[in-house]
Amino acid sequence: MDQLSQALVSGLLLGGFYAIMVLGFSVIWGVMGVINLAHGEFLMIGAYLAWGLFRFFGIDPFASLALILPLMFLVGYLLQITLINRIVERPHLMTLLVTFGVSIALANLAKIVFTSDPRNVAVAYSGSFQFAGVTFPIVKTIIFAAALLIMAGLHLFLQRSRLGKSIRAAAQNKTAARIVGVDINRVYAITAGICIALTAAAGAMLSPTQAIFPFMGPPFTLKAVTITALGGLGRIPGALMGGLVLGVTEIFVATYVAGIGTNLGVATSFILLVLILVVRPQGLMGGLRPVDAEAD
């Protein structure tokens, strides 16, 4: 029973991180139909930024979000207006190849700049506390709380603000949004900025919990795809639900598959993904766009 409740709590905490990690990926896919294969690399950049700020300026990873968010918003905005906006109207293959190229370039750039030595952010509060017989790692609990806060904030922004409404309009019907005066390129750039900033923020928050290295990105990209398939595109409750399901599944595999379970995270995620795609190609909640319908 103890092991079960511990696994459940660990899984939910991990799932909270996954939910915040996947938001940027899922919103970019949902709003502009771009599958961003460089997603994990932006997470990696966020983690390195947090590491650099911690190592050289002594800034706490969670405090460093105040710097990382605006900086990475700018990066995402510029990337969108210089590169992705050029190909967003073109077929899927193009955006896949371009973001694949960006991901290779970023990972190897990171290798040149930071070398491939793993980096750690050793915060003072890296311990854990006990509650009701279950161990809560402090950092992961903070991430979980921050994830819920950020998701609530993004939800309010998309639902209530004028800009958020333009973003949703662009996602639902681009032509109609144009007709009523939405500047699609600007809305896309702002969306990309927000998403890249959120992804980097997730990386920064992740930095105290695992080693940072240039090639940490692809597993996160894969998990982001899995969660999106589980929870649907660009839907915040879906991201939370998908993240929690994946987190709990992974921890249960790690707990109950003896010996090698802890290293099977990526494989678990992949098997889940293929299962979902094969059994329900439209995603568990019907959120994935059928490819054929996009052809018109």
């Binding site: 896949l96 370039a105 692809p218 795609l277 094969v278 490819v291 054929d292």
Partner: protein
């Protein structure tokens, strides 16, 4: 920007590449027996090349180029001709490499005596083809980007699975193969495999099988309704491509004498295959070999001094090719419709 017709249609209709002399006649000539004759002549010249008294380095370079040409042609069979853009094709390379290493080193769990290279080489290919069958049955049902992502996932997942299967695969430490230095043998073996694969692609492209693959690429539902067993054709193309990729992986492991999960299951190798095919001309017979040679020359002539920057440049080059030369060398110089990339892209659907 308004939602106009797809970009590829635009290109075809306006034909703005008119400033180049049309190479369409050359294309149709190359696709036929003339192309095969020229190819066999080239193979003959390459076979005679070692007799001109070359260094062993030149032989190594030769076999490396043949590896790239073979990989690009294989990827093109599934990615270019059948239209299933495989982002994880390096997984078959890795499976082949590991089967070779496990068999020739008689790795721990195997009771049987060590295998020789010549028995292990076809086994590498067969294992990769079997793996393609198992993985293709679910993934080839997926369309467009979902297939690409599922295959990328297969690659990343296999890397982790191989890493944790320490008793069989040596885990993260990798496996050491017996060092056998035979540059001239490597050269001729790869020359033979490359010759076989490219000739096979040439034959497939002319055969009913190949035409069915192209029909699947253009319109899978339509092909199905015309009575083509699409599942069988896709699986067959996938297995052929995987078989030779596995053979090349096995050869590579033998030549490299060391493998670990990060060396063989690496995304970069898939990227290279995609880039070489795209640079040369997706879906053509001679484009991918041309692209492979071009990429190899680029890597070695331009970037040999910037080793660190090489992969960074590779990623940026991929972006540039997609932006400025999406139809490759053959497509850009010649008749646009010859590569059919536009129609392949249309099959992928457009973004909203």
């Amino acid at each position: 920007m308004t939602t106009g017709p797809p970009a590829d249609k635009n290109g075809n209709e306006t034909g703005k590449k008119g400033r180049f002399p049309s190479l369409a006649p050359v294309h149709s000539l190359l696709a036929g027996w003339t192309g095969l004759a020229l190819w066999l002549l080239l193979l003959l010249l390459l076979a005679l090349y070692p007799y001109t008294g070359v260094s062993s380095l030149a032989l190594l370079v030769g076999s490396q180029i043949f590896v790239l040409v073979t990989l690009a042609s294989n990827w093109n069979l599934i990615g270019g001709m059948t239209g299933y853009v495989d982002f994880g094709h390096a997984v078959f390379f890795g499976v082949g490499a590991y089967i070779m290493a496990i068999l020739v080193t008689g790795a721990p769990l195997l009771i049987s005596p060590q295998w020789g290279f010549w028995q292990a080489l076809p086994a590498s290919g067969a294992a990769a083809a079997l793996f393609a069958l198992l993985i293709g049955l679910p993934t080839l049902r997926l369309k467009g980007p979902y297939f690409s992502i599922a295959m990328l996932g297969t690659l990343v997942a296999m890397r982790e699975i191989v890493r944790v299967s320490r008793p069989i695969t040596g885990g993260g430490i990798g496996l050491n193969l017996p060092p056998v230095l035979n540059r001239i043998g490597d050269y001729y073996l790869m020359l033979a495999i490359m010759g076989l694969v490219v000739s096979l692609i040439w034959w497939i492209q002319r055969s009913e099988f190949g035409q069915s693959l192209i029909a699947i690429r253009e319109d899978e539902v339509g092909a199905e309704m015309r009575g083509i067993n699409t599942t069988l054709h896709k699986i067959a193309a996938f297995m052929i491509a995987a078989f030779f990729t596995g053979v090349v992986g096995g050869f590579w492991a033998w030549q490299n004498t060391f493998i670990d999960p990060d060396v063989v299951f690496i995304e970069t190798r898939t990227v290279e295959m995609v880039m070489m095919s795209m640079l040369g001309g997706l879906g053509t017979v001679w484009g991918p070999p041309l692209g492979a040679v071009a990429i190899y020359l680029l890597q070695n002539l331009l970037w040999s001094n910037l080793f660190e920057l090489h992969l960074l440049a590779l990623g940026l080059l991929l972006v540039l090719i997609v932006l400025f030369m999406p139809e490759g060398i053959l497509g850009t110089l010649g008749d646009r419709s010859s590569t059919s990339l536009g129609r392949l892209l249309a099959r992928f659907g457009r973004n909203r």
